[in-house]
């Protein structure tokens, strides 16, 4: 059926709320407003103010309350408007949600799902456009996932709710309006990376909002006779080394596409893992396409210049294919 990513997430939320009375959604403007990105529109009318719970602008308190509610037997879904605002509750996520099970010697698990948007591209400037998912992917105790397809947007939430530990879902804001054919929901997976386009010459590793750019870049590269494989990480923590390495060992070349900044990025981590485990399988140096080291600027031409683009990915593919070791 034809649907948008927004509708896919809304359907996932609705299903979760219908199936499990312990599930509730809370966050800023999720209720009467319908969600900053209109994800939860209509849900408060359907499920009431108790289960679609508007919060004050108190990220730390309502994320912490989500942790407490999870400990108290609920299955909270906490929406943080954007990853940029999540820095106000970083303490609760990193110091409490991620540590409780370990600090308590395994007595207390935190089955909490936190959803937040990430990414640039809508001229929202330097405080609403950053991609900080790698900060969370750095932290043991958290599971970090990023849907890139309609099926994953529709199906990952349920899998996250089934997880006994804290899960953060990063939803790239550029995806919400995107329309497509939703096939089988059951194919969603939060543990294994997926090959979205098989190829034999080079592996393009990406996730979330950059999958479609990367697929376009692969199509464009095919016109110049380069057969690129596109790997969608799905899970940013833990990383599915097995699928990544299997692909790279097959193609013997890899580029990582990541909307985070170069320095200390997920791309850096993935590149290092490949270097550690598959160095002698490589035919060319590893490469990455990341965001320029600048707070995201407001003007469209500068914002676009800062971000990974189809052209920059294609350019990097050509560069790597031209190199041999």
């Amino acid at each position: 059926m034809t649907t948008t990513y927004r509708e896919a997430m809304r359907a996932a939320l609705r299903q979760a709320l219908q199936e499990d009375e312990r599930v509730f959604l809370m966050g800023e403007d999720v209720g009467r407003y319908g969600g900053c990105y209109a994800i939860s529109q209509g849900l408060q009318q359907e499920f009431g103010e108790t289960r679609i719970r508007d919060t004050p602008l108190s990220e730390s308190a309502f994320v912490g309350a989500g942790i407490g509610a999870a400990l108290g037997g609920m299955r909270p879904i906490v929406e943080v408007m954007t990853v940029n605002f999540s820095l106000l509750c970083l303490d609760q996520i990193v110091n409490t949600a991620a540590t409780l099970r370990h600090m308590s010697g395994g007595q207390f698990s935190v089955p909490l799902v936190i959803r937040m948007t990430t990414g640039a591209g809508r001229q929202l400037a330097a405080q609403h456009s950053h991609s900080l998912e790698c900060w969370y992917a750095h932290v043991p105790g958290l599971r970090v996932i990023a849907p890139a397809t309609l099926e994953d947007m529709r199906g990952m939430l349920r899998l996250a709710l089934e997880d006994p530990d804290p899960v953060i879902i990063f939803e790239h804001n550029a995806l919400y309006n995107r329309e497509g054919e939703l096939t089988e929901v059951a194919v969603a997976d939060i543990r294994r990376a997926a090959i979205r386009r098989p190829g034999k010459d080079i592996t393009l590793i990406c996730y979330g909002g950059n999958l479609h750019k990367t697929l376009e870049a692969a199509t464009a590269s095919a016109e110049s006779g380069i057969d690129a494989e596109v790997l969608d990480l799905r899970s940013l923590r833990p990383l599915d080394d097995e699928t990544i390495l299997a692909s790279v060992r097959k193609t013997r070349r890899a580029i990582i596409v990541d909307e985070g900044w170069h320095s200390g990025s997920l791309a850096a981590e993935i590149g290092m893992r490949i270097a550690e485990q598959a160095f002698y399988d490589l035919d060319a140096p590893l490469a990455r396409v990341c965001t320029a080291e600048v707070p995201i600027p407001y003007p469209r031409h500068l914002e676009q210049a800062a971000l990974p683009q189809v052209e920059s990915i294609v350019g990097k593919v050509r560069e790597v294919m031209g190199q041999n070791v």
């Binding site: 309502f62 509610a69 600090m103």
Partner: protein, 327 residues
Amino acid sequence: MSAPTSQVSREQGLRWLKDMIRVRRMEEKCAELYGQEKIRGFLHLYIGEEAVAAGSMPELSAEDAVVATYREHGHALLRGISMNAIMAEMYGKREGCSGGRGGSMHLFDAKTRFYGGNAIVSGGLPLAVGLALADKMQNRQRISVCFFGEGAVAEGEFHESLNLAALWQLPVLFICENNLYAMGTALARSESVTDIHRKAESYGIYSSAADGMDVVSVNTAVRAAVTRIREDKKPAFLEMRTYRFRAHSMFDPELYRDREEVDQWKQLCPIATLTAQMKAQQLIDDRDIDGIEKDTAAEIHSAVEFAEGGHWEPVEDLTRDVYTESR
């Protein structure tokens, strides 16, 4: 600070004395063990503040939840975690109440619903709010009690949590243990308004202050607040005015306060005060105190033996309990 005026029964008074003496002596032993490097890391002693935990815990039921801070040995013990399990935790042994993974600052116990042991100042407040939210959403009658120091009042989470608890009418009892120093920063040097309970009032929360050096005053205040919470299904806030006799942690040279000030507060020692009061009323005599001291010494002795005899977790288990499935 007013002198205790309430009449205490022999039975009730002895229970409080025993509770406070157990905490005091256990912690004195911990300080000694710290000197012997048996206990490492940070060790924050509650000595001087025992009346707050001792006066509070008896008013809670087994179903209620307790959230505390890194100065939580007394709360843990009086909530019902065994001294053995606490001592083993301080040693970092597998038999500890957190399996040795937490140490002094992170005592946890699912059985008694003791949720830590949070070493981020004010970090426990949102947690208590969430526990209470879960209870309310599931129509359970239990309450969540959150202990924290007055240093937490300066954090945004304090205000966010009070607002949320009041806004959503959640059964949380906030107990601020105002010992006048956030580590070494005096309250008057960090807060424009030092009457802490008034801050809670500004959120429409029932709030009062009590003499935290007097277990009777503490107990009276907690009992009233707990009754109110159970009846009204709303949060309540208590400011306990108390004082820490020992340094902030074992690394603190106490440059920020005078010896005279500490000595003055020591005159208000909650154990000595209650002992003197009950003796004056001829409710107890020296034999009662000796009996408590003797029992406590035996309990401590066996707790130390238990901890000494405990086991180190094998290094192969290092990454265990990071995720649930790895167990």
